[in-house]
């Protein structure tokens, strides 16, 4: 728990209005940055004034309970299908709600790759927020679609090699698609990065509110338990290694698809 507290103290103070952390069991490991994403979403939803018609969708993985403490309507679907469920919600409610998914890298870009690419392709008016911790956290740290070259995981014990394929760059990929109007990648290791990521998330939701097109934001998050690193060292590893592979910034930003 120490790592989490340190991270939060460095970055923010107080609880946002829509962030009710007493809901459900607290499922995260020490130093996990998922709660920070909870907080960020709670702040952005409040700032945009969309709590009455925002609907969050999660899949299966460490992110699965991420929307639970948010004081908005939430749907949880099976592993990899959040983009599909979000599509169903948006259409069934005649395009009225603001629908976003929170998914892990495995949930979104591996098992759910068909779903999120289909949504991008059809220009669904939804937002996908993909948390990239470069491995499968819930199942004990296996290789994910975004695992770095050379990174040791429980399924790449000698480190990821070329025979395991290469890390997937999702915002860069979806930026090439006409149905996507906004694609960005942020991180949460410093207060400045937190503010930048918050700006990306806010912009993605704003584009959806303006009915422009599909929006996608990847967020790099620490996974100290599976990286076998101390929470503080995990942040350093993101800053020194992960960002080299996954550069931060906006890859596409248009107000018309």
């Amino acid at each position: 728990m120490k790592g989490v507290q340190v991270t939060e103290k460095v970055l923010v103070s107080g609880n946002p209005r829509l962030w009710n952390r007493s809901v459900g069991r607290y499922p995260y490991c020490p130093g996990c940055q998922h709660p920070l994403m909870e907080r960020l979403l709670a702040e952005v939803i409040d700032e945009l004034g969309i709590e009455d018609y925002a609907i969050g969708v999660t899949g299966v993985g460490c992110h699965a309970r991420l929307c639970m403490p948010l004081d908005i309507d939430v749907v949880q679907v099976i592993h990899g299908r959040a983009a599909d469920a979000a599509t169903g919600i948006k259409h069934a409610l005649d395009g009225k709600p603001i629908v976003f998914t929170v998914q892990g890298d495995g949930d979104c870009a591996s098992i759910g790759s068909e779903g999120f690419l289909g949504a991008c392709h059809r220009c669904e008016r939804i937002s996908i927020f993909m948390l990239n911790n470069t491995n499968y956290g819930t199942t004990g740290g296996q290789m994910g679609p975004t695992t770095l070259m050379g990174q040791k995981t429980t399924s790449t014990p000698e480190g990821r090699t070329e025979s395991d394929g290469y890390p997937l760059h999702v915002p860069e990929l979806v930026a090439t698609m006409r149905g996507v109007c906004y694609a960005a990648r942020g991180a949460l290791t410093t207060a400045a990065q937190y503010q930048q990521t918050k700006k990306f998330i806010r912009k993605a939701l704003k584009r959806q509110m303006d009915d422009v097109g599909m929006t996608f934001v990847e967020v790099l998050v620490a996974c100290p338990a599976n990286w076998r690193l101390k929470p503080v060292d995990s942040l350093k590893w993101i800053q020194e290694e992960v960002i080299k592979e996954f550069p931060l910034g906006e890859f596409k930003d248009v107000d018309k698809t």
Binding site: G24, R25, E51, D52, Y53, A54, I55, V57, A64, R65, M68, D71, I72, D73, V74, V75, Q76, V77, I78, R81, D84, A85, A86, T87, G88, I89, K90, H91, A92, L93, D94, K96, P97, E114, G115, L117, G118, H121, R122
Partner: protein
């Protein structure tokens, strides 16, 4: 009352409209394309949702999302797409989300798949192919009118039990053209779906909703423990078992009874009528709900003197025959007439009335 001359597959659309269905999600697959295209052509113009999904996996999970909003929603598919939907159906059951899934069966002969008719999905429709041991009502229409009526009933039952309901049709019933009376069926009123997500501000109590297939894992009310959910599930399945429907004719002293659903029930009925003309006593049972299976109809037939059952279903080794055998509890012989009795040894071959009649005479 308006009468139209349409296909069984199009009748699905008319029924969905009559039932107030708001959204369709699907993927092209023969032999259900007329259903898919009906929704593509009609729904967007009516301000309702139609989405061509990237696959059946996508379609069934779009159904999940749409069903979570409380709107009535439907999808339609055939064998291979049905296979892809299994995971989604299991989780619709687990999340207790109502929806209607139309399965238009096609040739499922192992090693020689075809897009023409067959009745090879009985077991996977009634038992389910997804994980975790779920149940869903399966309704089997045998005409265009019945397709329209049963789809409307399916929407009602889905909402009543908060569970997916499957319509098990086949390529012949789906492509059959018959006159259809466009009648809107009336059912008992059901409670408001206060559990549905709409956006917190749209809820009467302004409180958030949380729809999940993993209520137990999340430890959420009203089922905070595994056993409390298991008990709820058990009670619900027991109630669903009361929805048995079957057609039964010739209930007097018959030694031989025919059991068939879908297209083979139409064929068999003709053979049974021919038998009556010739003075042969043959009973006839057409299960309308395949799950729950009308076991009582079978035991009633045995009480009335049935010694043999002949199950007519167009597949290789018999599927519904397992339910008939189970219900007859060893008190009668159970025979199967299937794919090998087709009039042509090709995917276009059919089981025809005179073949059924011949088999009946052989068994009498």
């Amino acid at each position: 009352m308006e009468r139209v001359f349409i296909q069984g597959n199009e009748a699905v659309g008319e029924a969905a409209l009559a039932a107030g269905c708001h959204a369709f999600f699907g993927y092209p697959i023969t032999p259900q394309n007329e259903t898919f295209e009906w929704f593509a052509q009609k729904f967007p113009k009516m301000g309702r949702a139609f989405v061509q999904a990237q696959s059946e996996v996508g379609a069934i999970n779009m159904v999940y999302g749409a069903a979570a909003t409380g709107k009535r929603v439907i999808t339609s598919t055939s064998g291979p797409g049905w296979g892809l939907m299994q995971e989604g159906i299991a989780n619709l059951c687990a999340a207790e989300l109502p929806c209607v899934i139309v399965l238009v069966q096609r040739g499922g002969t192992p090693g020689a798949p075809s897009v023409q008719h067959a009745q090879a999905d009985y077991l996977s429709a009634t038992r389910g192919g997804g994980g975790s041991g779920y149940r869903n009502i399966v309704l089997a229409p045998a005409s265009v009118q019945e397709t329209c009526d049963l789809v409307q009933l399916a929407f009602h039952l889905a909402d009543k039990y908060r569970n997916p309901v499957v319509i098990l049709s086949d390529a012949l019933i789906g492509h059959l053209m018959e006159p259809l009376e466009l009648r809107e069926l009336k059912f008992d009123s059901l409670p408001e779906k206060e559990w549905a997500v709409r956006g917190k501000g749209q809820q009467n109590d302004k409180k958030r909703r949380y729809v999940t297939f993993a209520a137990v894992v999340q430890g959420r009310e009203p089922y905070p423990t595994m056993m409390s959910f298991a008990k709820h599930w058990y009670d619900k399945v027991e109630k669903m078992k009361s929805e048995v429907r079957a057609e039964m004719t010739q209930q007097d002293d018959c030694k031989l009874w025919i059991v068939a659903y879908g297209y083979t029930s139409r064929v068999s009925k003709e053979a049974v009528n021919e038998a009556r003309v010739q003075g042969l006593g043959v009973g006839f049972i057409r299960p309308i709900t395949l799950w729950p299976f009308p076991e009582k109809a079978i035991s009633e037939a045995i009480e009335k003197g049935a010694e043999k059952f002949l199950v007519i279903e167009d597949n290789i080794d018999g599927q519904m025959i397992e339910d008939v055998r189970n219900a007859s509890q060893g008190k009668a012989e159970v025979h199967h007439l299937g794919l090998f009795a087709r009039h042509l040894p090709t995917p276009a071959g059919m089981i025809l009335p005179h073949t059924v009649f011949k088999e009946m005479k052989r068994l009498l």
